[in-house]
């Protein structure tokens, strides 16, 4: 056919031309394809970010609103039969007074608070008097303690009618919001038919409302009363751990970076330290959890589930991040500043601590904040030191049992009341992400603000 041996005939030139054009078309098509693949990869990356945030937000935002009963509660003296609140009398020792007060609180605990809750609904419609069990199922079980605490703080309320907003049971919440298939047969529904009807009726009458709920932020985790489960305990636990990371990892990290960058001689020891830091930065986080379990818990017998241990483990994890960031920002300080200080008679230590480190502080801060943010989101090592235990109190010191925000996410995602807790889990993630994004935002802002070109 078209043999390249005869290039001079007009026919073969046209053929060659056609071949080149065909080849070029093919090459340009491949160019476009390649470029398109690149653009597709970038789009895919952006789409993943969008998808992640969209799914978390769409699932989690509804959990900030919860079914709430807006009711007038009558603190019936018939039901609350207790002595007046004890006051300390002259000549009474503190321990005697404390004993009397505890006895009084014991009386409070004996009061049938559920009855008050039931009565507040029955007051709306006396016909419900025969359905006390159904009425009680409307409330989440923690609300009776809410009533008790109101009276404990202010016994004068007895005999008065107080408008209150009380959280509905988690199952009611699921039912009202339509998070469960309403056409399921009775045997597969969590709630009795009568309770469902009652909930629907109160919802129509505007007594059962979906309102913004503070419980998620101010309560601790709860097993008996899912609707009142909140993040306060986990939040405090995370806060304690971050404080420990800030007080342990940042000073130690900065000090060792200063030593390595400014003072260290070139010898075996410093070589070893450098290799070590690079290795530590790459060790999987769960290995740090094993370290914590073996050393802090098994050898030193520090308490399980304590933010102290969690904070120490996270500090060791964060150390390399802080060291690497600090070294980078120390390196960026020009040598002329050091030389000038030395030339004016400052000692090496004075040069470093009065000139170099202050100039590097913005970079050190940025790196430290990013390290702390990473530590905030870490879960795996905390599971190994027992921080996945259920804790219903707000920790008051780093030695108390506690959980942390990411661990709370882990605990909630496994909760069997799925229809309710899927939203809770995502809401907890929103809170966690909000904290991380604000920390990272702070780091970026600091970097922008103090950016220097030497």
């Amino acid at each position: 056919m078209n043999t390249p041996e005869m290039p001079h005939t007009p026919n073969s030139r046209a053929l060659l031309q056609a071949r080149i054009e065909k080849n070029l078309r093919r090459r340009h098509a491949r160019e476009k394809l390649f470029r398109g693949m690149g653009l597709a990869a970038v789009t895919a990356g952006l789409a993943f970010v969008a998808l992640l945030f969209a799914s978390i937000l769409s699932k989690g935002l509804p959990a900030f609103w919860q079914s709430t009963l807006v009711l007038d509660v009558y603190f019936d003296p018939q039901v609350i039969q207790i002595d007046p609140k004890p006051t300390q009398q002259a000549g009474e020792s503190p321990s005697e007074f404390r004993e009397r007060e505890l006895a009084w609180q014991g009386q409070l605990a004996m009061v049938n608070w559920n009855r008050l809750l039931e009565d507040s609904v029955i007051a709306l419609d006396p016909d419900l008097g025969s359905q006390r069990r159904d009425v009680r199922a409307l409330f989440t079980s923690a609300e009776r303690y809410t009533l008790r605490d109101r009276i404990k703080d202010d016994p004068d309320l007895i005999g008065q009618t107080v408008p209150m907003k009380l959280l509905a049971d988690a199952n009611i919440d699921v039912w009202i919001r339509g998070n469960i298939d309403r056409s399921l047969p009775d045997s597969q529904q969590q709630l009795r038919p009568a309770v469902r009807q009652l909930a629907d009726r109160l919802h129509e009458e505007g007594i059962l409302q979906v309102r913004f709920s503070k419980a998620l932020f101010f309560n601790t985790d709860s097993r008996s009363s899912p609707a009142s489960a909140g993040l306060a305990g986990a939040f405090m636990g995370s806060l304690y751990m971050m404080m420990i990371v800030i007080f342990v990892a940042v000073p130690v990290g900065v000090a060792s970076a200063v030593y390595l960058e400014e003072f260290a001689p070139q010898n075996r020891f410093t070589d070893l330290v450098e290799v070590n830091i690079n290795n530590l930065a790459a060790v999987p986080s769960i290995v740090f959890g094993l370290l914590g379990a073996a050393i802090f818990i098994n050898w030193f017998h520090l308490p399980l589930s304590a933010p102290l241990v969690g904070g120490l483990v996270l500090s060791l994890m964060t150390l390399p991040t802080v060291i690497i960031a600090t070294r980078a920002s120390l390196k960026a300080v020009p040598p002329s500043i050091r030389q000038a200080a030395l030339a004016l008679g400052a000692s090496k230590v004075q040069t470093v601590f009065h000139q170099v480190v202050p100039l590097a502080i913005p970079g050190i801060l940025t790196g430290s904040i990013i390290g702390v943010a990473q530590a905030l989101g870490e879960t795996a090592p905390l599971l190994l030191i027992g921080m996945s235990a259920f804790v219903a109190n707000v920790p008051t010191s780093p030695m108390d049992q506690s959980t942390a925000l990411p661990v709370q996410v882990f605990l909630w995602q496994g909760n069997e009341l799925r229809n309710f807790f899927e939203a809770r889990t995502s809401a907890a993630i929103i809170v966690l992400l909000a904290m991380m994004i604000s920390l990272n935002g702070l780091a970026i802002w600091l970097r922008k603000k103090f950016e220097t070109r030497w």
């Binding site: 090459r27 390649f34 952006l46 601590f353």
Partner: protein, 457 residues
């Protein structure tokens, strides 16, 4: 007195000592008519250090040693049949005594010897607290007075203070080494204990993973590593199959094609993926990706489990994308422009230039980046714990559930852990394996990346 109070007091005394040293140095200089060797602040600092450091050292030593000493003393007073118990049973007894001594109270009858021992414990603690207070107070005072009297214009205070600062810095850099030593020693120690129950051959080459409950007794169950390792590799391979093409193409597009505005916008957004906590990815996999794959499987008539190697791998791949893309981006932008110009000048299209010139030149660095990404995938925990399904059986189907090394570590060490049973000790053997694998990958990767980078420097 609580420890925190004690430390606050020491710090307060140090502040006073600083002031005293400061004023004294000025006064001495005036009296003797000589100028000071160092600035007055250094004299103050020196006095504060001499005053505070010995006391703080005693405080630390006390915190480390006191529990051991008290325990030994209490145990020596116990009746012989109790003192002869194993150390774990003794722990239980001591915890009970502790509750009694601290006034917390205990359930059940209190035996006379218990009451006596608790009282003994309480007395020892009181004596110990008082002794510590006395020792620390006297050290504070002695240090203060001694350093204060040493102040003279000739004293090289700055040099002394700088020596202390230097020592402190060295100690801090030692922490990194100490951590590594701690990791290696603790894991080796516990893993050795595990291997005294289960032979290393059975562990490293066993194909059955079935550790029974620790209450069953010692050494029961099969501890074969291979199913876990296989699961880990399968999930990581899927993750890399997602992350490497997307990450690499992203890097190429960003480095070679993208207009600067797109680069400025898209790069930070994609890097957000790297900063998201892994638990969030786990929940995302469980709530969104798993059900999605399951539904797709239903549509095309394939059984895909919601928690499977596929789900975990794909989500982990998404997590690693920014890792691959930013490392590759660095390496691609480091390829000298002259190479591109040469290729383009010879008539190659841009994609031909990239594929045949830029990528081969950057290849070692990119391979290094992949290895780093792989080590991340192997050590990743929360995504697999939530989304891989935990089924430690050797099979080749990525649509089924698998188990990984990290899942098993979490499972074996959470819940009621008794550190003496092989069922929880195996976690340390697994951790050691994980540590060695990821470390080896990292060392190789860093070596490759470094070696490559030097070529154009």
């Amino acid at each position: 007195m609580s420890n925190l109070m004690l430390i606050v007091i020491v710090l307060a005394v140090m502040a006073v000592a600083y002031q005293l040293g400061l004023t004294r140095s000025r006064k001495v200089a005036r009296q003797q008519g000589q100028s000071l060797h160092s600035r007055p602040g250094y004299y103050g600092m020196l006095v504060a250090l001499w005053c505070g450091i010995p006391a703080l050292l005693v405080f630390l030593l006390w915190a480390l040693l006191e529990p051991m000493v008290v325990r030994a003393l209490v145990v020596s007073e116990l009746p012989p049949d109790i003192a002869g118990l194993s150390s774990q049973q003794l722990d239980v007894v001591l915890r009970r005594l502790n509750d009694m001594a601290s006034g917390f109270g205990v359930a059940g009858e209190v035996a006379p010897w218990e009451a006596a021992a608790a009282e003994h414990l309480d007395r020892l603690r009181r004596i110990g607290d008082l002794a510590r207070l006395a020792v620390m107070a006297s050290l504070l005072l002695v240090g203060l007075v001694w350093a204060w009297r040493r102040i003279a214009p000739q004293l090289r205070a700055r040099n002394h203070v700088e020596q202390v600062v230097h020592l402190l810095l060295v100690l801090c850099s030692g922490v990194a080494i100490l951590t590594t030593v701690g990791i290696v020693l603790s894991m080796l120690g516990e893993a050795m204990r595990f291997f005294s129950f289960v032979s290393p051959m059975d562990f490293f080459f066993g194909t059955q993973w079935n550790p029974r409950f620790s209450t069953v007794g010692h050494g029961e169950g099969d501890f074969g590593l291979l199913p876990l390792l296989w699961g880990t590799l399968m999930v990581s391979a899927i993750a890399l199959a997602v992350a490497v093409p997307i990450g690499l193409m992203t890097a190429i597009y960003m480095a070679e094609y993208a207009p600067s505005w797109l680069r400025a916008v898209a790069k930070p957004i994609i890097e957000v993926l790297a900063g998201i906590p892994t638990i969030v990815y786990g929940v995302f996999a469980l709530m969104v990706v798993g059900p999605f794959f399951h539904n797709v499987g239903d549509l095309i008539g394939v059984e895909i489990r919601a928690t499977s190697a596929l789900t975990a791998g794909v989500v982990m791949g998404i997590m690693i994308i920014p890792f691959v893309s930013s490392l590759s981006d660095d390496i691609i932008t480091q390829v000298p422009q002259s190479l591109r110009d040469g290729s383009l000048g010879l008539g190659a299209t841009r994609s031909e230039t990239i594929r045949q010139v830029v990528l081969p030149a950057a290849l070692p660095g990119i391979v290094g980046a992949f290895l780093l990404a792989a080590s991340r995938a192997i050590g990743e925990t929360m995504i697999v714990v939530l989304a891989a399904g935990n089924s430690p059986i050797l099979h080749a189907n990525p649509l089924e559930a698998v188990s990984t090394v990290t899942i098993t570590i979490v499972n074996q060490l959470t819940g009621d852990t008794d550190f003496a049973s092989p069922q929880s000790l195996v976690a340390f053997a697994l951790g050691l394996t994980l540590f060695v694998i990821t470390l080896a990958l990292n060392v190789v990767a860093l070596y490759i990346v470094r070696k490559y980078r030097e070529q154009y420097d």
